[in-house]
């Protein structure tokens, strides 16, 4: 990994929520990196802490949560140490974020043009007219027809897919180096999902932006991302180039995840399921979080957090990873 090519490197990040019921370790020692122009897929079930991961990078974790440890190196600087004011300058300009639910993301009582223009003018001192034009171009870029008419409309007048496109347009307005997309297509139906995916692919290819695509759906990232990180219960369990990981997963969880994708199962046979349920992020035990559902677990998994094994440009956090380049799926 050429360090100078990295746009983001997350090292040992920990984000904890200090609630009345106990400490929720939503992000529990996570490390990964994203290169320039690369798409990273961050995959995990709900409750794995992936959204919190995204917020942590931008410094948007709401109390009672906060980042308690680790480094976030963005373009060479550790932004975990940044003050709120410094983060404000980064947000929307160098790093942008797209959220899951487009209905709630846009302010329902403000017009689209207001919301887009303010995103531009908060970082650059240009006049309204120019900002307006840039916003129009932005809308056209995401494939929204007749942008001028759309600009003076309100969010509730758009369909879900359109709203998400607007959110994407806003994220791209200032040509950021990195976009974090938190399940942007989960709330949309499949056809729209495909369109948006296609759009994003095009944009990334053409502009050289890096993208972290957070999702629970393996099939979505399969065609889009170059690298994949699999998260489970606040930890990364496997990291690596996507084709390798998907074809020959090393971690039992990844293995199970891939097996569970319905299209992979043969007709007539029972659908594969990973047994057990996701553990709560409260009161996390010291050992491996996946052991209660793992077929390969033993005493060691109970007591110590699994160390990393590096093999063929991949990282696996497991005491019993599938050897020889992973299991056949």
């Amino acid at each position: 990994m050429n360090k100078s090519q990295q746009v983001l490197e997350v090292k040992n990040l920990k984000t904890h929520f200090f609630t009345r019921a106990g400490v929720v370790k939503a992000v529990n020692d996570i490390s990964f990196s994203v290169d320039k122009g690369e798409v990273l897929g961050l995959v995990g079930e709900s409750g794995s802490g992936k959204s919190v991961m995204g917020f942590s990078i931008l410094g948007l974790v709401d109390p009672p949560g906060r980042v308690v440890g680790g480094e976030i190196i963005f373009n060479g600087e550790n932004i975990a140490q940044f003050s709120d004011k410094q983060m404000q300058q980064l947000r929307g300009k160098r790093i942008a974020m797209i959220f899951q639910d487009p209905m709630m993301t846009l302010n329902p009582v403000l017009r689209i043009d207001t919301q887009m223009i303010e995103a531009i003018r908060t970082h650059e001192n240009i006049d309204k007219r120019t900002a307006y034009e840039r916003a129009c171009e932005g809308l056209a870029l995401v494939g929204i027809p007749s942008p001028q008419e759309r600009m003076s409309a309100y969010p509730h007048q758009f369909s879900g897919g359109m709203r998400q496109r607007v959110a994407i347009a806003i994220a791209m307005l200032n040509k950021p180096d990195l976009i974090i997309a938190d399940e942007p297509t989960t709330a949309l139906d499949v056809t729209i999902q495909a369109q948006i995916l296609h759009q994003m692919q095009k944009i990334c290819r053409e502009s050289g932006m890096s993208l972290i695509w957070i999702t629970h759906d393996l099939s979505v990232v399969a065609g889009l991302a170059k690298k994949i990180s699999v998260m489970y219960s606040g930890r990364i369990v496997e990291n690596g180039p996507i084709d390798d990981v998907l074809d020959r997963p090393c971690h039992p969880y990844t293995h199970g995840l891939i097996q569970s994708v319905p299209s992979r199962n043969r007709r007539g046979k029972k659908l594969y399921q990973i047994s057990g349920t996701t553990p709560s992020l409260l009161n996390i035990s010291p050992g491996c979080a996946f052991r209660s559902r793992c077929e390969r677990q033993d005493q060691r998994c109970l007591t110590s957090p699994p160390g990393t094994s590096m093999m063929n440009g991949r990282q696996v956090y497991c005491w019993h990873p599938y050897e020889d380049e992973g299991a056949k799926v």
């Binding site: 300058q89 959220f99 846009l106 302010n107 995103a119 970082h123 509730h156």
Partner: protein, 325 residues
């Protein structure tokens, strides 16, 4: 938009009609209406004349119709005490009450909303906690007692402000108002404060609750993710969202304020409708009571109407339908 106005107008007229029926029933059908509208010392001949005038020998629904036409003509009988048309009496006293009510509400909103927003934005700061503590306190003080206490402190003991009466008035569009004169202002301060304290507390709590709730919404997170400054997020995004419930409740509270003004006017000898009506209830001057009721209901319906209009202006989801792409 026009459709909306027409719909609301018809609704308002409907409510007015219902109210008129209620008043009619309350005043005419129960008990002897002649007794209601005529001086208790009237002679027998006058009573008979009145009975005929009122058409009490006619069927009930016709009586109601006569009542209604009378109301529309503005004829609500004469006050027993002043021997003047009741409606005219009430109307002449209305500006004083309205002035008091408006100034109090304005005071409550202008001071209350910013304080509440601050408290919602930084809920854990000492300032916010004192604001909230103060608001519960303000909320728990009976208005009449507050009025008495501040009169005691500021007027009796300190002698800074006058304890009663309305100040000098100037004519604004033909209506006498007192807040434009210095003398008028000093007379306004104590009554407006005691009337507005409860509303102030309410506004603080509303603004705080609204701000607090909105802060947790996704659109705020998204706005911050765009890099907007906190000030911009509060003023540009959150403010507009919380104005909606604030405006709606302000309308209701304006009505409440007009009602509570009755107390303030009595204590401060403020020459408004409220004092008039309390005196009227005391001596059973029913035409005045009826006139007050009808006027207040009309005002109130008008306020509701304006609030609805404002609501649709503020919330585009109500105003515009869905133009799905």
């Amino acid at each position: 938009m026009t459709e909306f106005i027409i719909r609301r107008l018809t609704q308002s007229i409907g409510v007015l009609l219902i109210m008129s029926i209620l008043v009619f029933v309350g005043v005419f059908a129960i008990g002897d209406p002649v007794e209601v509208l005529i001086n208790p010392d009237a002679t027998q001949a006058e009573v008979e004349q009145m009975t005929e005038d009122l058409g009490l020998d006619k069927p009930v629904w016709e009586q109601y119709f006569i009542f209604l036409t009378n109301v529309v003509k503005g004829n609500l009988g004469n006050s027993f005490v002043f021997n003047e048309p009741a409606l005219k009496l009430i109307l002449s006293h209305a500006p004083a009450t309205l002035e008091l009510a408006f100034i109090s509400m304005l005071f409550a909103i202008i001071i209350g909303v910013p304080l509440g927003m601050y408290a919602g934005f930084k809920p854990d700061s000492l300032v916010s906690k004192s604001i909230m503590g103060g608001s519960i306190f303000g909320f728990s003080l009976p208005p009449f007692w507050v009025a008495l206490m501040i009169i005691f402190v500021f007027s009796v003991k300190l002698g800074w402000l006058p304890a009663s009466g309305r100040g000098e008035t100037v004519d604004l569009f033909g209506i006498p108002v007192s807040f434009l004169t210095w003398d008028g202002l000093t007379h306004l301060i104590l009554p407006a404060f005691s009337l507005g304290l409860l509303r102030l507390s309410l506004m603080i709590r509303l603004a705080r609750a609204g701000t607090y709730e909105n802060l947790m919404m996704d659109y705020v997170k998204f706005a911050r993710a765009k890099g907007l400054s906190d000030m911009r997020v509060i003023m540009g995004h959150i403010l507009k969202n919380i104005m909606i419930p604030i405006v709606t409740i302000s309308g209701l509270e304006l009505g409440n304020t007009i009602a509570f003004a009755v107390i303030t006017e009595t204590i401060y000898a403020w020459p408004g409708m409220g004092k008039l009506v309390i005196d009227a209830i005391g001596v059973l001057d029913r035409p005045v009571i009826v006139a007050y009721l009808m006027l207040v209901v009309v005002m109130f319906i008008f306020i509701n109407f304006v609030v609805d209009l404002l609501y649709s202006v503020l919330d585009p989801r109500v105003r515009l339908g869905d133009l799905k792409s």
